[in-house]
Symmetry: C2
Subunit: 391 residues, 2 copies
């Protein structure tokens, strides 16, 4: 697999970090999840069955668990040896916490010159907000992400997904993989850092560039496209359809498919600027036709005509959608002791080294003994640490 | 830089692909943007100055432009030689288009066994929707992403950002970097694929796992947190504040900071379940205090007390926020002939090999001659192709 032979020491908890390291594990890395004695709090969160959190199971697949009390001298010594034999360390503490545990950048570098360290935090480790507590919701607010969602008169709105955490996890996985490539080529390790807020800011895309160029923020447009019409959600006989005929060619196909070929030459609608100027009228005409039949009918008919459209799936709908199933975005994983656990599949499709679940999510400390044995600690040492609660 | 020496052949247009290859370029790859004779349509989109699209400038920094007519035999021959000397080929055509141009998987493999090919598309290249036209908006609808945004009685709502395109671009950059690491280690190239829809589905996170485990989709909660209160946006004297005191410890700090220490022991509010049961009441009390002073006052006061909170920045606010500036998320790039162009900075911070703009976005065909010379084509050949409109 692409990251075979890459050992990742995972000190992260909850969401952004575990998402990052699950991606690395899906790509073949050996991820050692170092958990505090009480375990990652996600073990007790979300719905599950028979005491197993399916949220934990999904975000911690392809990892081994080492239970380790980093407040003890023995715990710190074990971590030091682990670092010396790892390629990557990932943490999502607040800035400064790892250094206060005894592992500042100099120590990390001394332990393992090729080490790639990745820090995931709320705002970055420099600047006036560096010490502030951060959560996904705050990053969504500060980054401007909330401000662009909704219509002109709606309040700012977050995404219902923890998008700040997830995007930061994705950037972290990319940073780490790139830095490992560099370390393999040059022997040089380094520190990577990704913040929830910077990650979301980087997605402001053309809204940012338009603001930079004009000094004005584009108005919010809800589900409408600011410079295309018709565009958006339309009611059907039994639900809704999302419609995005983004240019004149698509619009002409739409007009034919709706049985309204006259729209193609009507000066009120023939061009994009004309349709945007007459958005309410063209939306009414298109909406009137769409309301007369079912979503399935229109999705079939319009796609056959080459018009971009689709159903507005609920989360439950998504997982029965034939395309999502065909793409294996829902997988069942045999979880020893708990039967089959259903979880999300892999958005990365690789022809020769496909992602797969090599390990179901570990029990707390399931691999403590195995990992410490790999580090050449004796059975006596391990037994003593187990007795003392270090592992 | 991490991707120094990695040559990326970029056949992509518009957004998802160019975002992916800009990330690779930011990390040091040599990105050759192969443009059709008319150029990437984004050259003519978005706001800009003096005829330069700042949207294009941001998404195409760190690339060279080769203008190439792939409909001509000479254009195809040049592409074949480029492929033979590249590490990566990225495309965001619809499935099958690259093969119809004469470059199916077997041909690509024959030209360059170590080649990493990455396809970015709407729904994936297999399954019933593979040939459907796709846009970000449709991916937001089909993936379930829209369905989780907003309150229980609101319509499904897209993000105002092209989040499907951007997340696919990020996954593509990760796939490519991992596959290059594999190719460097083993000599084995492969085909990577990422779709807009799968990318968004993968972000359904605990909403997916809760649905899998219970068979029920969690209700939408707008800006509220389903299992924490108080939480969300609250009006202040001059705006709004986002507040996320996600557990009892944070709530106690909030109560003190608001001058309402009695809330900490009041049985109506002392525990998370009690506060969720009395959400309207606790929101009213907290909201009443917050409305009495400015956003800046509360952001300062509450953060000093260790309560997660922040302003709800507009896009314009973001770019003057002292933390965003300190994190260099706004940069000015000298663009020859156009002066300084402002654009987003780098969310990936690397200590030893930082991302930087080595090249401003290219003019159409700016590097055609240079790239063809590197491929050992003679001056006479280049002149003939220029005359014939091949380049």
């Amino acid at each position: 697999m692409p990251l075979s032979g890459v050992r990742v020491l995972d000190l992260t908890r909850v969401l952004s970090g575990p998402f990052c390291t699950a991606l690395l594990g899906d790509l073949g890395a050996d991820v050692i999840k170092v958990e505090a004695p009480e375990g990652d709090s996600v073990r007790g969160q979300g719905a599950g069955r028979d005491g197993l959190s399916w949220y934990f199971a999904q975000f911690n697949r392809n990892k081994r668990s080492l239970r380790l009390d980093l407040r003890t001298p023995a715990g710190k010594a074990i971590l030091a040896r682990l670092i010396a034999r790892s390629d990557v360390l990932v943490e999502n503490f607040r800035p400064g916490v790892l250094a206060r545990l005894g592992f500042d950048d100099d120590r990390l570098q001394a332990l393992q010159p090729r080490l790639v360290t990745c820090a995931i935090n709320g705002f970055g480790s420099t600047g006036p907000y560096r010490d502030r507590p951060a959560f996904d919701f705050i990053a969504q607010a500060i980054s401007g992400f909330m401000s662009v969602n909704g219509g002109p008169d709606d309040p700012p709105l977050r995404s219902g997904l923890p998008i700040g955490d997830l995007v930061a996890g994705l950037y972290a996985a990319l940073s780490i993989t790139a830095a490992v490539l560099h370390a393999r080529a040059t022997g040089q390790g380094q520190r990577a850092e990704v913040s929830l807020t910077n990650g979301l800011v980087s997605l402001l895309a053309y809204i940012a560039t338009n603001t930079f160029a004009t000094g004005m923020t584009p108005p919010r447009s809800g589900n409408d496209h600011p410079i295309a019409a018709p565009y958006g959600l339309f009611p059907t006989r039994d639900g809704q359809i999302a419609l995005a005929p983004a240019d004149d060619a698509f619009f002409r196909r739409l007009a034919d498919a709706l049985g309204e070929p006259g729209l193609k030459t009507d000066p009120l609608y023939a061009t994009q600027p004309a349709r945007v100027a007459n958005r309410a009228r063209i939306n009414a005409i298109v909406g009137g036709r769409l309301a007369g039949n079912t979503t399935a009918h229109w999705v079939e008919t319009l796609n056959a005509a080459g018009v971009p459209c689709g159903p507005v799936n609920s989360v439950a709908d998504v997982f029965t959608d034939p395309q999502i199933r065909a793409q294996q975005m829902v997988i069942d994983v045999d979880h020893p002791g708990y039967g089959m656990v259903r979880m999300l599949g892999f958005p990365i499709k690789l022809s020769e080294t496909p992602c797969r679940v090599r390990r179901s999510a570990p029990r707390l400390g399931e691999h403590s003994d195995e990992v410490l044995a790999e580090l050449d600690y004796s059975e006596a040492e391990r037994a003593a640490w187990r007795r003392d609660g270090v592992i």
